[in-house]
Symmetry: C2
Subunit: 346 residues, 2 copies
């Protein structure tokens, strides 16, 4: 059964409010989850509601967080999220970075003491809506071994950047710095399928095709030493520099109910107009996009795609046809509806 | 025969000055080249002198460039390099970004109408010397196919970031966004060896193990779609946003003597002290580095390394023992010495 984005959002917002979030915060978190479901990123969609509710109820996500500016000096600000919902902190922080960029062309905002913040492209596309280039990164609990190692020290630490394109959809990069998302390995495990070499290693540090061994061992970085360096960079900017937890210190979303996650994020915005009038920038973006899209495709490929293009196609389709929930996810959501006495349908 | 860093620098500076660069500019370029040779990045070292001299003499690198600020508003500046030496423009731009960061915590400087700028880590380590985190990127002429394509549209577009570590050497990431550097494929071709699948494709867009086919076809991005997205990001910030050439429009260093390269760069600096006193930041960096270095190494690995560590080890060794020039490079340098009447020995 398919649900419209609006129906899903109403349901998610009511769930989160019943769990304890302020209604305006519940709306923000619901919006980002449904954004992910629309764009084919189900792993960051409403399937996260059960764990969010569990953590809110245990007080590990602070439903009454008082987020405060630690530093608003100059072009780089710092927000303490007081262990509140990561999405609420992230929207605030991106808006702060954009405000600074509006005044000075460039602005950044770090976030400390935060929690899981969902799909980063939501925040970078927010910058694009205001004619800016947006960057977002977040650290995450340690599941990945550094290159040359076999013990999880770093997270899948994703990075997103989005930029406006004149006549097309925006450029959107949104990627984990691990070879694949951990959720993908979990899906292979459930299916009983082998994973390609290069995704994960067993506890002895040997590359494995067995997803269960990889889940017990460690994930591997994308592109070997390069993904390792990028992942560490994300942790330096999001965790070390903001005063948040980092490396092995970050609380695991699903496995650690002894403490708040204390994850950190980093947002940056560039106001294009400070360097070049938009009427000059846009045709230049159209030109590079055109160079790529008219370039010869590889065999079996119809047209080369711009980063973000598959997600926009998914979004158009799902806005038209609705969002199909995986049966197991719908079951979990029905259980939440019952548990919390939610009126909205799912 | 080995040469000390000082000897190489003296020679390189004299070559560049005799070719026409102002002596202070020649010294800057020489310094960056020897920096690369010291750190084991020979592909960006004095082996570049012949092509630099050729382009200076043809006027494609403007020896009398008048670099000017296009924009110094707010926290993001823009420098027009007037087709002058890329290294001179890059040092200026990183210094401008650092100056802005010193005042406001964060600063950036784009560069347009520039030329090949060598190893990016030189500029990011300059920021580290001043207690800052530095980022540098540059676009380059199109040799790489976008993911899903088979025609070169993007360059190897490298990115470097460096950050200070309390008691250790700095963290230094410096990587091409292609699977490998093009020079590496050229070395395999010279040796008559096969290249691993995933480095390049033939003109039909098929993965190839033949380095000569790959050189005629296209290089492949690191980590497939992720490296493609990163490479395009570098071109958006360095080329599209700065008003420089981008994509297929950038002049090829070795193959195109019809026009200046017009490459673009992008530099960013974060002044750590604006967010956290260095005496707090340093032990935090020590801690994350310690978590990594004390983590279990993979089989056959003695200790997990921090990004940049192999290059610092090379630098220590070469400062002690001198730098060995590849015979073919030394021959080319001897030819330059003769051609330009250089007094310094090589």
């Amino acid at each position: 059964m398919k649900r419209s984005a609006g129906e899903l959002k109403t349901f998610a917002a009511e769930v989160l409010a019943k769990a304890g979030l302020k209604s305006e915060d519940a709306a923000v978190v619901a919006e980002t989850l449904v954004f992910a479901d629309l764009r084919g990123l189900e792993s960051h969609g409403v399937s996260r509601l059960p764990i969010y509710v569990k953590r809110i109820k245990k007080g590990l996500v602070n439903a009454r967080a008082t987020m405060r500016m630690v530093n608003e000096d100059g072009a780089i600000a710092l927000l303490d999220a007081d262990n509140g919902p990561g999405q609420v902190a992230s929207v605030k922080a991106m808006d702060i970075a954009m405000g600074l960029a509006q005044k000075q062309g460039l602005g950044a905002c770090g976030v400390r003491n935060s929690t899981h913040c969902g799909a980063l492209a939501y925040y970078t596309l927010r910058a694009v809506e205001h004619g800016m280039i947006g960057l977002a990164m977040t650290n995450a609990n340690s599941v990945m071994a550094p290159w040359g190692g076999r013990e999880p020290v770093l997270g899948t630490n994703p990075i997103s950047v989005a930029a406006p394109v004149g006549h097309g959809e925006p450029y959107v990069m949104d990627m984990a710095t691990s070879a694949v998302a951990r959720g993908k390995i979990m899906i292979y495990a459930k299916k009983g399928a082998r994973i390609p070499l290069g995704w994960g290693m067993n506890e002895e540090g040997e590359p494995t095709e067995d997803p269960n061994e990889a889940l017990k061992g460690a994930m591997m970085p994308m592109a070997g030493p390069k993904g390792y360096a990028l992942s560490l960079l994300v942790d330096i900017l999001s965790g070390v520099l903001t005063g948040s937890a980092f490396g092995k210190g970050i609380g695991a979303l699903y496995d650690d109910f002894s403490k708040p996650q204390r994850s950190g994020h980093f947002f940056l915005a560039i106001d294009i107009g400070h360097l070049m009038p938009p009427e000059l920038f846009q045709p230049r973006m159209d030109e590079i996009v055109g160079q790529i899209k008219t370039s010869k495709p590889a065999r079996g490929v119809e047209q080369v795609l711009i980063p973000g293009e598959p997600e926009f196609a998914a979004e158009r389709k799902r806005r038209r046809e609705g969002i199909e929930l995986v049966p197991k996810v719908r079951e979990e959501l029905l259980a939440l509806k019952e548990e919390l006495g939610v009126a909205a349908e799912i």
